[in-house]
Every structure is written in C-alpha cells, then in structure tokens.
Amino acid sequence: MTTSAFADLNALRDAATRELDAAVDAAALEAWRVAYLGRSGKITGVLRGIAAVPADQRRVFGAAANEIKVALEQRFEARQADLERGALSALASDAIDITLPGRPVDMGRLHPTTIVIREICGIFQSMGFQVVEGPEVEWDKYNFEALNIPKDHPARDKWDTIWVDANKDVEGRFTTLLRTHNSPMQARVMETNQPPIRVVVPGKCFRYEATDATHESQFFQVEGLVVDEGVSFANLKHTLYEFARRLFGGDRKVRFRCDFFPFVEPGVDMSIDCFKCGGRDPACRICRGSGWIEIMGAGMVHPNVLRNVGYDPARVSGFAFGMGPERIAMLKYGIDDIRLFYANDIRFLRQF
C-alpha cells in the first residue's frame, strides 16, 4: 500500500510533467493547472488523501507530495513564462499599416479675428486692463460729439459713416449710426465710472467705404483707454511698447509719429519695425521697404473729451489707443486681402 502510494505519486508526477510540457497555449496551460493544482486537482487530491496513509508514513509521504507539488508549480510558472515569451515574440508579425490616416477627430476652430482679439485683450488684461464692449449701433453724440468732433467738423471725413434710417434731430439729420470706431466706449465708460480707468474695448465697426484688398465696410477694432491722476505720454509709450513686444516679439522696436485725431492731443500713430525683413528688403510685402509697419493710432485724451464726461482735466489725464485686429492678423498670418475675413470661405477659416 505504501509502496504503491509512493509509486502512484511518482506516476502522477510523471504524467503531470509530461502533460505540462505538452501544453502549447494559455488555454491548455490553464486546463492543466486546474487538473493538477486546482482546488479539486489531482495533486491537491493526493494531499487531501493523506489521511489514508498510515500514520507513521504520513510525514514522509506528505513531504514527498509537497515536494512534487512545489516542483510542479515551479515548472508550471516556468512553462507559463516560456509560452508568454513565445506569444510576445509573435506580436511582431501581428502588424498594422501605421500609415493609414488616423480616424479624424473633427476639431472646431475659432475665427481668426476672435483669436487675434483674444490675444490682444489677453496682453492688456495681464497689464490690469478690463475688457468691455459697447453697442454697435450708436448715437452721433457718442460716436462723434463726445469725442470732440462736432457736427460738420471736417475731421468727420476720416470716418465715412453709415447712418441708420431711424431717429432724426430737429434739423432733420440722422442721429443714429453704425459706429465708425470703438472710441464711443471711451465716453460711455467714463460716464459710468470714476478713475482709475483701464479698459480695452473689442468690437465691430462700420464705414461707408468701397471695399478692396485693404478696406472693408465692416471690421473690428480694439480700443483702449487709461485715465488716472498723473498719466503721461511716457506711460502711453511704455504700455504700447510692451504690448507690441508681447504680440510681435521681444526684440521689436517701436516708433511714434505725429498724427491727428480730434479726441486726443497730442496724437500719434505707432509703428513697429518690420518683423519680416527688418527694413532690408525694398520689395518687402509687409512694410513695402520702409522697414516700419503702422499698427495703431493713439494719443493723450483731449481735455474736451474729459470735460464732456464731467472729469476735471486739471486733475486727471489719460491716453487712448485703437487698432484693427484684422490688420494685425494679416501681418501675423500673411493674409493679403481683408475681404477674406467676413466672406467666410471655409478654406480660409479652417487654416487658423
């Protein structure tokens, strides 16, 4: 009995070894594990049947059976590792064509004007400016008169106006218009707030103007206004210089030349040095060889504008500026025709 029990044990070990070596895949291996080492497997059965072994031999038998079990477990793990290695090495032949196009994830895009307006406003926000918007249909009062441009002032020629066929004054002249610039918000912001004021105003404007590659009847502007005690042209210069460097690169140079806008005095416009050719290419498409690109008008707020909103020009001063995001987008992206912006050709829009 004991001899035969030992013999059975050995036979079991031999059979288990043989079958284990014959297992060629993960399923066969698992079947083997269940058959021999599982909860009701044969080896487990032998160990469970130890009660039938005479008491004096149980220790020896148990030790032998356990030894076999451990050996088989080790052999099982080794075999399992072998098979995994084999399976992994077969992955190389399970290849796909990685040059097929990826499954498209259709991402939307913002309009380039939105992108540039956000970039501009973002820079000013980081300098403590607030972003506000105003009405696109305005009163003559805000668009012109509050800005030191009375009726029949020749400076109005600069802003060819689309009038709205609605409200009229006593003389029968239209009083409502499509704002020709974002400057009316200067007056609106100052009317309802007290200094210190630091705002940028993005938004749509309109001009009665025939369109061509550089002129549109509808366009956007970003207007800016700073009013406080002791604000000077030197502050204007630093603020706009800082802005230009952040938008067009840290090594930009800026230049201010005298210009005239009735709501500022002195008035200037700001150019940056040409980031394309640096003034070295006489045929440069960006600066036309001048080396300089005009990007915005600016100036110190005219005392009449401050007075019109009830501020005391002896106490506070300020500066204002305005720029066209389309022009900046054209410079940045190399767009050569402003009419592309609002024609909404999908081939244009999906490039940004």
Partner: protein, 808 residues
C-alpha cells in the same frame, strides 16, 4: 497735394535728400511721399534751339540740324518731319540715357555716323524721353524755354505728395510745407514780398463791401486792378500750376490759383464790370434761390448757404465756386480780386449738400485765419500786375467786422511734464534737441518768457489748429520727436473690476462649440432684404429690420434681425467645397428696433450641421447629421454651463414641422433646434438632404447660467448593480418621458438607452426601447432582492404611467 520740389526750393533750401525730407515731414505729422520726376535719369539732355536746318547730302528724308545749347553748338542728323528752325527742343548729348523708340527698352546714346555724316547727339521725341508714346516727331518746347538748362530741371515734375490731416489746412500750400521744412531743418522761411505799385485813386471809389452775415464771413477784402489784358499765362506760371496738378486757364485766374497753392488762401477774381452798383454784398441765400456756377450747373440754394452778391443778383457761391455771370473773359479789363474768410462749417455743409467740393471749399472748410486773407490778396494783386498788366487802385477794401483778440497761450514746464512725462522737451536736450521756445520760434510762434518756468506764445497767422496748451505741447513734441520721450510703466491704483457676464458667456459658448467640433464664422451685420426673406426672418409677427440711410449696396442694406440668413448662405458655400459637409456657427448680435432708442442688440448664437458624421473615407458607415446631432451639441454646451436643458416639440418657419424642438431652461424658452424645412434647404441651395440647426438667445440664457457651473456632488463608493430592460411602448410615447420616469427613482443612478427598435416582430404601433439601469444606494450595498424589488415596482408604475410593458 502735389508740392513740386522746384517750387518748394523758392522758399527754403532743401538741405536733406528728398526721401529723407519726406520721412521727416511724415514723422512730424505731415504724411509725405517723395515722387521723383520721370526725367530724373536722363543725364546730359538740355533745352536747345534749332539754329540751322540743312539737307542731308546722302539722304532725301534726313536733315542736318545745328543746335545751340547755350555755350555749345552741335550738329545732328534728324529725320523728324516736324523739326523747324528756331524751335526750342530737347537735345540729348552722347551718354544720355534714353528709351529706344523702336524697342521701348532703355539705351545710352552713343556717337553715330548716319549715311556718312557724324551725328553729335539727338533731338528727342516724347517716347525717347520716356514722357509719352508720341514718336511721330520731336518734342517741341515753348519758345521761352531757357536754352542750355538741363531738361530735367526745366521739365521736372519731381514733387512731394502731401496728405494733410484735417487740422493742418495750412499745409495745403507750398509755403506751409516750406515752413514745416524750415522748422525741421532749422532754417527760417522769410515772408514772400507783398509789395506792388498802387495808383492814386482809392479802391473805395470803385467798390464798397457790405457783410450781411458776419457769423459766416468774418473778413472780406477786395482789391481792384484796372486795365488788365486777359490772355494765357507766362510759361513759368503754367508750368508750376501743371506741376501742382492744376489746369492753366488765363493769366488772372492762374494768378489767383497760384496764390491759393502758395498760401493756402482761395481767392476769386470777378469781372468788375459785372459787379452792379459797385457794391459787394455777402449774404445768405434765400430759400430756393437759383444760382448758376461757372461750370454751368444751376443750383437751388437754401439758407444759410452763403453768396457773394451785388445789390441785384448773386455773383458767386462763397468759398465754393464763382458764378457764370461774373467770370473772367477775354474782354475783361477790370478785375475785382476777392480774398475772404468764410465760416468753414458752413462752406463744408454747402459743398456737401450741393455735391460740389472744390480746391477752394476743401481749404475753407478746415478753417482759415483772417490775417491770411489780408496777405494773400496783396500777393495775388502783385502777381496779376506781373502776368496781366494793368494798374492797381490804392489800398484794399477791407470789411473786418470782428477782429478777434490775439490768441495768446501759456506753455509751462509743469504742464509739459505732466502731459509728456518729462521736462526734457521744455528744457531741451543738449546736443539733440533745442528747448521749447526755440522750437516754437522756428515754427513761427511769437514766444515770450513768462516767469521762470513758462512761456507765453502766440501761434503764427497761418495756423488755425492751436487753441490750448496741449496743442502747443504737441508742436514741440512732434518737431523734437517722440523718440526723445522716455517710456515709463503705468503706476498707481488698479481699476475697479468691470464685468460683462453676457460677453463672457458668449466667449465661453464659442469655446464650447469649438470643443464640440464646430467652426466659428463671422458675417456682415448689414444684409440684403432678400436674405432676410429667404431666412423667413421678416413678415407678420417678426421685427421690421432697421435700414441704413445710405447703404453701400442692396446686399448690405438692413441691420440683421437674425443670424439665420448669413449662416445658411455660408453653409451653402461651404458645402460646395470638397469634400462637402460643414459644422459652422456664428455668435454675434442682431438688432431689434426700439422706438426712439438704439436697437436692442441681442447676442445670438446659431449653428448648422450638414454632411456626414466623421469624414473618414476609408471606413464606411458614416450617417448624415440630423436633429439629434444638433441636440447633442446643444445638450453638451448647456450641460457644461451647468444648465439642465429640456426640449419640447415646437414650430418654427425655418424648420421641419415634425423635427423641431424648443430649448428651455428653468421653463424659459432660450432657443430652438431642428432640421431645416425642405423648402428652406431648397431656397438656400443646400446640396444635402438634411441640415441640423440650432439657435440660442444668450441674452435670455445668461441670467440662468449659475455663477458656479460645476458643483461637486459626493459619489457613493458602494457597489452598484446593472439591470437591462427592454420595454414595449406605444409609438406615441416620447422616449424622453420614459427616461425621465426611470431616472426619477431614488435608487437609479443612471439610465442609458442602448437600443431603439421599430419593425418586424413587434405589435403594430409599438416600438421597443432597451435601457440599462444602474442601481446604487448611498446607504449600503444593495442585495439582488432589493434591486429586483425596486425594478418591479418601477416597471409597474411605468406601465401605469406610460403603458410600457416588458418586452417578451
């Protein structure tokens, strides 16, 4: 304005190269472009005279011309038929750079022997000089062209092209530009001479001036010159006018135009004999008064348009154009020369209303100083005497009802520092820039020291744009240059926060739509009525759009009351671009009229989806976008805003009657979504069967958007149990109702519709909806019994509520 360099040089030495000069003027506020003369490259080409003409010994059609160019006489062979002895011509010596008349290419003239005779140069045609295409004969110059002068100097039209800002009317004149040049280069510009011989008879004996509208005419001067001979102007005068872009007319009119270009003061010459009763009356037009200007056009006038009249009739439209009844003719012998100061605003209104803008009106409307009129009249009288002869009467008739006080201004060091941020511009910068006083003197200001740190300044008579201290400060800054101003960071208090929740919401929605795969578009706010009609945005019950009073075109005539038309037009265009298909939106304003107020500008966002879901071509099975794609976009965006949207069946003209939903939030309608009505699809020529559309009114939505769009909810870590259930429901029962009912059970964490089936094997009028329900409790792990119990009670109540039964 064209300012010929040769003319400019009469007043100020041009020390800088023209390109540099143009740049400096531009930086100082006078936008200037240098336009080189066409002839600048000729080299040795001179004004010559044909002194002798002989036959060529060896050719019938050629002649030998002897040409004098001053100190030198040369002989050339010439084939031009129009050459004649005594002519002044353009003569090119060897080495001249010309244009080959046959090929049109540049060439350098070499010595040549033509049929055995040496030719020492060439008599040039227009084409050879690059001045035009005429090659039928040589260019014949006026008989007074100075022999020996380089042709480049004689003919030069090299000029500065000046664009002035509206405050600088003084630079619409050669003298004005010369003064700027003088200030920039530090050279004083002397006043031109105003002297001329006057007769003994006083002007008052010939004309009397009466100003009836002193608010519209602050000064009126008249000189009288008798015995002029009207005829063509001398060549030099014609030349200058042409170079400046004006057409010569006759010696009197040309003289007035010359002085207008020189000083910027428009003048007018009347035939004195046409001024009846020796009286000039400056008065407003009567209502409906008719007047014919010298261009032959009859105008109907209204007050306060200003007329120059005699006691019987009007003779000129003041400051705009003279009258046909009193203009200079060949027969004129006595001239009344007018120089006046008119109200710029009134001139501007008149010119605009009559659509008659002239050289004169564009100068007057910028506002001219009355002292200028007094100088210009003398300058013009002097010139008429020189060009048209005659004798001037003694003195000038001068009606000057209200000479204003001198315009004295104070410029303080502290004011300058406060505005500019540095005292350096007041004090001067050693080695780089003079002080404010010196700069202002160079600009023609009278400057007096006023105490230690201030100046009292009076602007020169030609400047009408200097009214306040800030203007004076700018004068200094623009000449010294803004490069000399330091840059100083803003300091001081930070501003109060200004929030605009609507703008912020719009920008957030734009981002969310982009996240959802949509492309932003921006279209015109002004649109055609037809587009509004096509989008069914006008008609009964809909706002009547505001109209532009002066639209640019029929396509940009009305302020949009809806984004729909433009959006669908954009979509139609996008669909025609391969591979077709588009998901687009616009977030922008519509303008709803309000009586006697600005329109209500509402922020609307509208989107459209057309084409197939997924543009992948190498995998099949993409379906066209439909109602539920638009709904998915709307649901996602609103969910991300922290809003719980509900959808109700609704109607909208634009949309398919069975596939339209109203979007509501907290019971308030905030928008609409659906598939386009097939008729609309056809109207807009949309080349797809289905277009999914949505529109949300952000003004209505904004107050409902929670300040915190995300509120954290504790989640249960206890295990949950899934149950799948297939329900048989009436086709008339909306799935949303079933789903809401299932979701309402306290133990149901999530409900997902995973199958919807209509058709074979189902009873008529029924459909199958299969849901996966996830049960979970916050209190403890649910047992299978608890879940089953919840499920069966739920189904029982569902059946009672909706008639849904378990599908067998």
């Amino acid at each position: 304005m064209k300012v010929p360099l040769s003319w400019l040089a009469d007043y100020v030495p041009l020390k800088l190269p023209p390109v540099e000069l143009a740049h400096r003027l531009t930086m100082a506020g006078i936008e200037t472009t240098f336009v080189p003369g066409k002839d600048a490259e000729w080299g040795p080409v001179y004004v010559g005279e044909v002194v002798r003409l002989e036959k060529h010994p060896n050719a019938d059609r050629l002649r030998l011309a002897t040409v004098s160019i001053g100190g030198e006489t040369l002989r050339v062979v010439c084939g031009a038929p129009n050459i004649a002895q005594g002519q002044r011509i353009a003569f090119a010596k060897t080495g001249a750079r010309l244009t080959d008349s046959h090929t049109g290419t540049p060439m350098t003239l070499g010595a040549a022997k033509i049929r055995g005779v040496e030719s020492q140069g060439m008599v040039c045609s227009e084409r050879e000089l690059g001045l035009g295409n005429d090659h039928d004969g040589i260019l014949v110059l006026p008989p007074n062209a100075p022999i020996g002068t380089p042709l480049a100097d004689y003919l030069s039209d090299a000029h500065l092209d000046i664009e002035v800002t509206t405050n600088r009317g003084d630079c619409l004149s050669v003298l004005g530009v010369a003064r700027e040049v003088g200030a920039i280069t530090g050279v004083p510009v002397p006043e031109p001479s105003l002297d001329y011989p006057e007769g003994t008879e006083p002007v008052s004996s010939a004309v009397r001036v009466q100003i009836d509208a002193p608010d519209l005419c602050s000064r009126y001067l008249a000189a009288v010159i008798k015995g002029v001979k009207v005829g063509p102007s001398p060549e030099w005068l014609q030349q200058r006018l042409k170079q400046a872009g004006l057409r010569p007319i006759n010696n009197v009119v040309d003289a007035t135009n010359y002085v207008m270009l020189e000083y910027g003061q428009p003048l007018h010459a009347f035939d004195l004999r046409q001024v009846r009763r020796d009286t000039i009356v400056v008065r407003q037009a009567r209502p409906g008064e008719r007047f014919t200007t010298l261009d032959g056009v009859e105008h109907t006038l209204q007050p306060p348009m200003l007329l120059i009249a005699d006691p019987e009739r009007a003779i000129a439209l003041a400051g705009v154009m003279g009258g046909a009844n009193s203009e200079m003719t060949e027969a004129t012998t006595d001239v009344l020369l007018e120089s006046a100061t008119f109200n710029g605003i009134n001139i501007r209104r008149t010119a605009q209303q009559l659509k008659l803008r002239t050289e004169a009106s564009t100068r007057f409307e910028k506002g001219l100083q009355s002292e200028l009129a007094g100088r210009a009249v003398r300058r013009a009288a002097r010139l008429i005497l020189r060009t048209a002869g005659g004798a001037a009467m003694r003195g000038i008739a001068d009606a000057f009802p209200a000479a204003g006080p001198a315009n004295r201004l104070r410029l303080s060091r502290s004011g300058m520092t406060r505005l500019i941020g540095t005292a350096a511009l007041f004090d001067g910068i050693p080695g780089r820039a003079p002080g404010a006083g010196e700069v202002l003197r160079a600009l023609g200001f009278a400057v007096q020291q006023a105490g230690h740190d201030a100046l009292t300044v009076t602007p020169p008579y030609w400047r009408s744009d200097i009214a306040i201290e800030e203007d004076v400060i700018e004068e200094v800054a623009r000449i010294v240059g803004y490069d000399n101003v330091p840059a100083e960071p803003l300091a001081g208090r930070m501003p109060a926060t200004l929030t605009q929740p609507l703008r912020e919401l719009r920008e957030r929605v734009k981002d969310l739509l982009v996240d959802a795969g949509m492309q932003e578009t921006i279209s015109y706010s002004l649109i055609g009525h037809r587009t509004l009609e096509q989008a069914l945005a006008v008609g009964p019950g809909k706002p009547e759009p505001l109209r532009a009073a002066n639209p640019l075109s029929r396509e940009q005539e009305y302020l949009r009351t809806s984004l729909r038309g433009n959006l669908l037009r954009t979509l139609a265009a996008a669909l025609r671009v391969p591979p077709g298909g588009a998901r687009i939106f616009e977030a922008g304003r519509v303008y709803i009229p309000r009586a006697e107020d600005l329109p209500d500008e509402r922020e609307i966002v509208a989107g459209a989806l057309a084409g197939t879901r997924g543009d992948s071509l190498w995998e099949k099975g993409a379906d066209p976008f439909d109602f539920h794609d638009a709904k998915g976009v709307v649901e996602s965006v609103l969910a991300r805003l922290g809003l719980d949207a509900a959808f109700e069946r609704a109607e909208d003209d634009l949309l398919h009657p069975g596939r339209t939903a109203r979007i509501t939030v907290d019971g308030e309608a905030v928008g609409v979504l659906g598939e386009l009505h097939p008729l609309v699809t056809r109207t807009f020529d949309l080349t797809v069967a289905k277009v999914a559309f949505f529109e949300i009114d952000l003004n209505t939505l904004q107050p409902r958007v929670p300040w915190l769009t995300t509120a954290f909810k504790p989640f249960s870590r206890l295990p949950s149990a899934d149950r799948d259930v297939a329900l048989l429901v009436d086709e008339s029962v909306p799935a949303g109702r079933v789903q809401r009912f299932l979701e309402d059970h306290p133990l149901v964490r999530r409900v997902a519709l995973f199958d919807r089936f209509v058709g074979k094997g189902l009873p008529a009028g029924k459909l199958s909806l299969a849901y996966r329900l996830e049960f979970q409790s916050g209190a403890g792990t649910l047992s299978a019994e608890q879940v089953n119990e919840a499920m069966s009670s739920l189904l029982q109540r569902l059946q009672a509520e909706t008639g849904a039964t378990l599908r067998a």
